[in-house]
């Protein structure tokens, strides 16, 4: 097989798998609940393997047996280390959708192991982290020095119906964990989900933003500090109705990981919430729009300038089930293809801003319906 998708039964895994299969690749679909991807499994190019990432040994054996050279990890970010270890054991190159701050730091510690085995692990290959990192690298490359980077996402829908925007576990983690920001060259903790005011976003309009934890703060500093980078700030923009709903769930205890006893059985509220929310159907005609944005402040020829990058995505025809998440699941698949074609090359552990050639990557995104802008001009 060409690729293995870990967490193929989840929202992003399903998108990545569909993309790869429709592009003629053979794919091993790894997960625990095949019923959620029944139609994908029917495809001749696909094979399903029951995989529990808690069991590294078995996951490695499954991966090795598949013959795939590249694994796309689309499972919850809490499983990233396990997935990387399984890939190390089985000898596969690795891509994932990001590990926020703490997990990303832990993942870099496997750098030497990956190098030793002549393997590559590319961390954070979705929309953000992912597209945002490559856009930042592109902007940084146009400057002599960089002082400040602000980035994030903003999305909206054409209806005010609540649809789970992305992994509810990730959202809860992002909104409740005090984020790490880079301020004056030092990492600092900020207040969880602090309001950052209203900003106008390309293709989205005005929206409230919140400071949340994200992996780019760590990786941008790692790769751009030699350019003088001293401040990094990550901001999330949710439509008000969606943010209110998620906030209500968090405030009322529905995101708690502490098990409670109901009728003599233990239940974790977050597991219950996740399962109930899974049943929510997208209304007919529901569409999402998203702006992944980066603002880089720096100097060129001793002049202070700001470069603004935007990647606009929306619900695509044939991908209605994915909403604007298509920019995450499809991006990891695009990067996996580029790695397979050796357009992306590397050894050890890296993030997209250090390994993905921007223009080739942007071309691929544009080919699939995304729009890229630099300072409001289409790239």
């Amino acid at each position: 097989l060409d690729f293995a998708v870990l967490g193929a039964t989840g929202d992003e895994g399903r998108i990545a798998s569909k993309y790869l299969i429709e592009n003629g690749h053979s794919v091993l679909l790894c997960g625990r609940n095949p019923s959620s991807i029944a139609s994908l499994i029917k495809n001749k190019k696909a094979r399903f393997a029951y995989t529990d990432l808690n069991d590294i040994g078995r996951t490695a054996a499954t991966l090795r047996k598949s013959g795939a050279k590249i694994a796309l990890n689309c499972a919850e970010f809490t499983m990233n280390i396990n997935a990387m270890k399984a890939c190390l054991t089985a000898g596969l190159n690795y891509l994932d959708l990001g590990g926020l701050h703490e997990m990303t730091i832990r993942q870099y510690k496997l750098d030497r192991e990956f190098k030793k085995r002549n393997l590559f692990a590319l961390l954070g290959c979705g929309s953000t982290p992912g597209i945002s990192n490559v856009m930042a690298a592109y902007a940084v490359s146009k400057l002599d020095s960089v002082e400040h980077i602000e980035l994030g996402f903003a999305w909206k829908s054409n209806m005010k119906s609540f649809v789970v925007p992305y992994s509810i576990e990730s959202i809860v983690y992002e909104l409740t964990t005090p984020p790490t920001i880079l301020k004056d060259g030092k990492f600092k903790k900020a207040q969880a989900c602090s309001a950052e005011g209203i900003t106008h976003f390309k293709g989205i309009g005005r929206q409230n933003t919140y400071c949340i934890v994200h992996s780019e703060v760590f990786t941008f500093y790692k790769y751009f500090k030699n350019k003088g980078l001293r401040n990094i700030h990550y901001k999330a923009g949710f439509p008000e109705h969606s943010h209110n709903t998620i906030n209500t769930l968090i405030r009322l205890g529905f995101a708690s990981k502490e098990p409670i006893e109901v009728n003599k059985a233990k239940v974790r509220p977050i597991d219950f919430t996740k399962k109930v929310l899974k049943k929510i159907k997208m209304p007919d005609g529901y569409k999402e729009f998203e702006d992944i944005w980066v603002k880089v402040d720096g100097e060129r020829n001793k002049k202070k300038i700001r470069i603004e990058m935007d990647c606009l995505g929306k619900t695509l025809k044939g991908w209605e089930f994915a909403g604007s998440n298509v920019n995450t699941g499809m991006t990891i698949a695009i990067m996996a293809e580029l790695l397979d074609r050796e357009v992306i090359k590397g050894k050890g552990v890296a993030a997209p801003e250090a390994a993905v050639p921007p223009l080739e990557f942007f071309e691929e995104l544009k080919r699939h319906g995304f729009k890229l802008y630099m300072d409001n001009k289409a790239i």
């Binding site: 609540f162 009322l252 205890g253 529905f254 409670i260 509220p269 399962k275 109930v276 049943k279």
Partner: protein, 385 residues
Amino acid sequence: MMRYLILGGYGAMGKIIVKDLFETTGKDDEIIVAGRNINEAKRLARPYKAKRVKAAYADVGNIESLTRAIGRAGIVIHAVHHEFNINVMKACLKTNSHYIDLGGLYHYTKEQLKLHKNFERKGLTAVIGMGAAPGITNVLAKHASKDLDKVDSIDIRLGSKDFSTYKRESPLSNTYSVQTLLEEFSWKPAVFINGKAKFIEPMSGREKYKFPNPVGLQKPQYTIHSEIATLPYTLKAENVTFKIAFDDDFFNKIKTLRDLGLTSNDKTMGKETKDIEITTEILKRLPKALPRISRGYEIIRVIVRGKKDSKQTEIIADAHVKAENELIDKDTGVPPSITAKMIADRKITKRGVFPPEEIIPIEEFIGELGKRNIYIRKYQKNKQR
């Protein structure tokens, strides 16, 4: 000597009932705080420093346990959830005890009324739905209807305002049972229209309504309530509705949970447990509000329209409930205590199962409420048609 047994005596309503009984009953009377958590029961009984306040184990889900706990009790006040009403009534029949509860959310009320003959035969009294609403509402409806020759409609509206200051606020400002609240928000409310009971959409009919000061403008909505199960028949009203107001923040939070499917009867986590049960448990664990100064005002309004001397007439009966350093829910805890005392003092002697409007001596009841800072105002609005 009378023996009063309060099931759920350490719960939110039970606590108020125990306190009121302690303050109003005689030195020879016994007050038994009963429930499944004997330690909680003991903890509540202890500060009264009186031998006549006791604790006892009782499981309302188990008739045997109940029968044992009630023993030779004279009057049982049932302040646990309404799904156990029938159980407790059966245990009262076995032990020859009178019975009072706080309501049956329409459906249970209908079942309870079927036990009328059983109570009558045994020479026992059951007063069902004897809190604030149902309870005071039913008595007010009767009180207002007395001024009319014929009743056409009864509309009940409840509104309250919290003037407390808090050391810590709760993420969900509910004052009564979370389970009852979620049921009120997700079960279809009954309304009685043109002589027929009809079930409408949960949380519907929410619109602005101006209560007298200091409650003011509120947005009452239909909820399932037991008044609709009795008033159309006892007062012969063609139309009966019940609406209660919740503040926007509270309404939106519960609506969010309901809209997301978290209060349904589905069994998402397996065969044993309904989603609404898990949600109830999650909400029960929320930190409680810690008031610095507890202050609240509630208005229970009953609007009765009908004919008097062949003229279309509207009578409004309001209960003004003022709470200063006490819980606003005293209006739910006080009525069963007053009623129990009335049964003990033989001021209530009818035997069988009755809703409040059929059995409570109105003037005396209003007098007792007044002693507890709950005042009734009744006035007439004349409308020529």
